[in-house]
Every structure is written in C-alpha cells, then in structure tokens.
C-alpha cells in the first residue's frame, strides 16, 4: 500500500435531494437539485469545477451511457467527466475518482455526483440482476435473489451463534427500529414512520427469515460532493471535512463456493476495513470511530457489518444492539440519517447520501439528529451478495 490519501483532500460542499418517489422529476432534475445545493454550500461557481465523476448503476433506467448525462445536464464547460459504475459502491467510487484526482495534483477542485431513479421501473426490488453478475455466475445462482442470499446469511448466523429464529429476528428487528426512529425526523428520508419490534416481526416474509421491514426501500435520489486540495479548503468554507481514508475492495468470488467461508461474515468488508483503518491511522475502531452509515440493504447486512468493521466482536453484535450501542445516544450511532432502510437505495446516490450525513454531523449541522461532537465518521457500501461483492469504506473527519 502507498502512503494513502489521509488529509490531502477536503470536502467543501455537499448536496442531497430528498429521497423518495419522484414521479414528477427525471434523473436530470435530481442531479440539478443535488448540484445546486453542493455548489451553494461550497460557495463556488460551476466554472471552478475542474473535473467530475458520475456514479450510476443502471444507465438503461436513467439517462444513458457515458459521462454525457452529467456534463449535458449541468452544462459543464468541456471539463473531464467520467462515469463510474461499481454496483452499490458506485457513488463512493465517484467520490474516489474526485478525491484521487485532487490528491494526485491533477485538479484543485473536483466533483462527485451519484444519481439513480428506480421507482419508474415498477419492480419491487432492484431491477433484473442477471447481467449484473455476468452469465457464468448465473450458472451458480440460477434462482437466487438479493433478499434470499442475505436471508441465507441470517439463518447461517443464527445457527452458528446458537440463536433461535425468534431470537435472531428480534435482534434484527431492533436494527430496523433504530433506523426508522432516526429517519422519522429526517426531512430528506423517504420513509418517516416510527416502527416497533412487533411491526418488524409481524411483517410479511420476503425471504425467510427476512420480512418486509428487514429490507430497505426502493427510491429515487441524487447526492453530490465538491472536494478540493486540503490546503485550499479554508478559502471556501470555515468548516471543511477531511478525507481520512477511502478504500474499495472487490471480492474475487472465491469465497462463494470454493473456500471455508461459512456465510456469517463478508470477507471483502473485513479486508477492506483493515486497509481503510491503516490508511486513516485508526488502531481501535470501536474507540476511534464516532458514528457511521453502513450498508443496511437488509437488517442482517447491518449486523454482520458491525462485526466485519471490527466494531463488535464476532458473534457479539447482538449484545451491542441490545445495549443501544448504535442508537443516536449510543457509543457509535449508526444510520443517524435513517439509513438505506428509510432512504431507500437509489444505487448510484447511496454512498454520497451516507457521506452527506457524516459531513453535516461533523459540521454540527444535522439539526434534530445531531450527534454530540463527532470527530470521525465512516461510510460503508456493499454491492452484490454476501458471497461475491463490491465494498467501499470511507472515513472522514475534522
């Protein structure tokens, strides 16, 4: 590993649309909305942006291939613009392009934008996944679904750690309850209803043991970040947020059937977290991370991620959940904005949406959701399945 990007790049502006069912807006409209907020926040003009990265997962549902959708929508002045796609990490991958572009010295100011519009598809979950995994992998998983794959992880986890289905489901229910509590007071969240454990336990089953309220929503949204050289940051705003580490880790696919992987953790998160902590200089994540937004596509995903990020010991996340460790008043508030659970998951936007919350929290601008004096925040995305996936982890701080 090289010397890394710690404290070389600052975030000086961010924008995030309300996530939800935007039947009256196109993807372009959402991009404009996120962009307008971000440039106003940074106090810059469009002409100040020297390069941009655009993350979206499904170009066929959005605005088309290439980086033209971003450049054309914002009428960017003939600058380099790159479209990136890396499943659920697409937004964080766009951030990586912008951050690395600035850290390399190639640009002083760059932008990352993520957008996705899913509700128009009419499909209840994410769209058809056959081509996402490549045809060869469909030989292996001809009939699998995302809820099904994570549901198998839940059953395996319950079995390994001696939990009955009822006990396991109750621990998972607390995760969704926490997210909904936080999301209920976030005006940008899609879902605002406070739910109870009983609501979660009684919800219709999607893929046993996961019910409807163990699954995140489907939404439309866009989010953007403006980044610049760390030494320039105070020229723009008084309260910049610095990138401490940014790592992507991609599964080799080996863990799915060919190794001793037991299905109760995500190998790529474990390995990517180790690199991220090293880059950020973090020795004890449980003590040094103050808050996080992790990839809660399903409640079980959030639970194993607590362990994979070395926040909770193996098999002990349930104890932390029951102790309120991850609530807004807890030691490491998780999903303070409501998470994917309340925001839904417009794929390209999600990583930057998470970052938006960490940014606002670090600046003390999170309103009713404000966490007391956070110094370090973490975002995590997991794209794909437990056994084959794309991971991004970003650490930001003051």
């Amino acid at each position: 590993m090289g010397e890394g990007i710690k404290d070389k790049v600052a975030i000086i502006g961010m924008g995030c649309t309300k996530f939800g069912e935007h039947w009256d807006k196109g993807s372009e409209d959402l991009i404009v909305e996120a962009f307008t907020e971000a440039v106003e926040d940074a106090g810059i003009e469009k002409k100040d942006i020297q390069a941009a990265w655009y993350g979206s997962c499904y170009e066929e549902l959005n605005v088309g291939k290439s980086a033209l959708p971003l450049s054309r929508t914002l009428k960017l002045p003939f600058i380099p613009v790159t479209r990136v796609e890396n499943l659920c990490a697409s937004g964080s991958e766009a951030l990586r392009g912008a951050v690395y572009g600035v850290a390399s010295g190639a640009y002083d100011i760059a932008m990352a934008m993520g957008a996705e519009k899913l509700k128009d598809t009419g499909y209840g979950g994410l769209s058809e996944v056959s081509t996402i995994l490549g045809t060869k992998n469909r030989v292996i998983f001809p009939a699998i679904s995302a809820p099904g794959a994570f549901a198998m992880m839940a059953n395996r986890y319950f079995s390994k750690y001696g939990m009955s289905t009822e006990e396991g489901k109750r621990s998972l229910a607390k995760i969704s309850v926490n997210s909904h509590k936080n999301g209920s007071i976030n005006p940008k969240a899609h879902l605002h209803r406070i739910i109870t454990e009983e609501d979660v336990l009684n919800a219709p089953i999607i893929a046993s043991p996961l019910g409807l309220l163990d699954c995140c929503g489907v939404s439309d949204g866009a989010a953007a970040a403006i980044v610049c050289r760390a030494d320039m940051a105070n020229d723009f705003i008084a309260d910049p947020v610095f990138v401490k580490a940014l790592q992507i880790g991609i599964s080799s696919g080996e863990e799915l059937g060919y190794t001793q992987w037991d299905g109760t953790y995500v190998e790529s998160t474990v390995r990517t977290a180790a690199r991220t902590y090293k880059e950020a200089g973090i020795k004890n994540p449980r003590e040094e991370i103050n808050m996080m937004e992790v990839h809660d596509c399903f409640s079980i995903t959030e639970l194993v991620t607590y362990e994979d990020l070395q926040i909770s010991p193996r098999g002990k996340a349930r104890n932390d959940i029951e102790d309120g460790f991850f609530t807004i008043e807890g030691k490491i508030p998780s999903q303070p904005d409501g998470g994917l659970k309340c925001f839904g998951h417009p794929i390209g936007a999600s990583g930057l949406r998470m970052l938006y919350e960490m940014y606002k929290q670090l600046q003390g601008k999170a309103g009713e959701r404000q966490i007391k004096d956070p110094k370090i925040g973490l975002t995590h995305n997991l794209g794909g399945f437990p056994q084959m996936n794309v991971i991004s982890i970003v650490i930001v701080g003051l």
């Binding site: 045809t135 009939a143 809820p147 395996r156 046993s208 799915l256 060919y258």
Partner: protein, 143 residues
C-alpha cells in the same frame, strides 16, 4: 462456407437460463444423463463446483469431471416468497447451500420437502431434476 455450429447446451439449464455458451457445456450433457458433475484439476487436485475448465489455483486447463455423489451438509437455506424476474411461477421455493467438504453446491430444495423439515447441519443429497417447463436443474433431497 458452412455455418458455424453454436454449442448452446446451457440454454436448457434452470427455470431461466442466463448462460448460453461456456467451456463446461458437458455439464449439461451429463445432467441429461442424470449426473451432476464438477471438475477436478489433474495437476494440483483443486476441486470446482460449479465446474471450471481452467484451474484458478495453478492456472492450467488440464481438468477432469467428477460426479457429485453422497450427502452434503445443509449450510443454510431460505424460502423465497418473491423471486427474480422470470421465476414468478416457481414461487415459493427454497434456495440452499450444501457443503461437501471440498466444495459447496448451491441449489434448490426439492418441492416435496417442507420448509419445516429443514435444519442447518442436516444431510441432503444432490439430484438431477426436470422443471415443469422442461428445463433441467438439480435439487436437494433426503439421502
């Protein structure tokens, strides 16, 4: 010039086939004879299910077929109430992973096995199956 023959045997696999052509097309010919097969590297002994024609351990293409026989241990399972596009008529169905020690097999539980009878750690076998739409796959059953 004669038209080139496309070896698309994999079109017969699964409720919806996502794969037309692979170097392991013989998997389907074996399946048609009732055999579920994986591959073994003749150089380093690495075992692959689903089958691979190239060994990712020692990077050679000297592999041979072996039959998935006997019982595996049920690692996990889930009953899907909603399925991917194209699988609607199969619902509900149970997906599962069997551990054979040296390799694992992902698949579906036989329709005649109730969900309530399943437990992590139980032994099941892998067996050839014909789907209602005439497509081929394999399912897990009691040994």
């Amino acid at each position: 010039m004669a038209k080139k023959e496309v070896d698309d045997r994999f079109k017969k696999f699964g409720t919806v086939s996502f794969t037309a052509i692979t170097k392991t097309n013989d998997f389907i010919s074996y399946l048609e004879k009732g055999k579920v097969m994986g591959t073994r590297c003749k150089e380093c002994g690495a075992i692959y299910f689903p089958p691979r024609s190239d060994c990712s351990t020692c990077l050679n293409s000297n592999t041979e077929w072996f039959e998935v026989t006997g019982a595996g241990t049920l690692l996990s399972f889930s009953e899907l109430k909603y399925g991917p596009v194209g699988f609607e008529d199969d619902l509900p169905y149970i997906i599962a992973l069997l551990d054979y020690g040296d390799y694992k097999v992902f698949g579906r539980i036989s329709k005649d096995m109730p969900y309530e009878d399943l437990n992590v750690g139980m032994e099941l076998k892998t067996e050839f199956n014909t789907l209602p739409n005439g497509q081929l796959n394999y399912v897990f059953k009691r040994p």
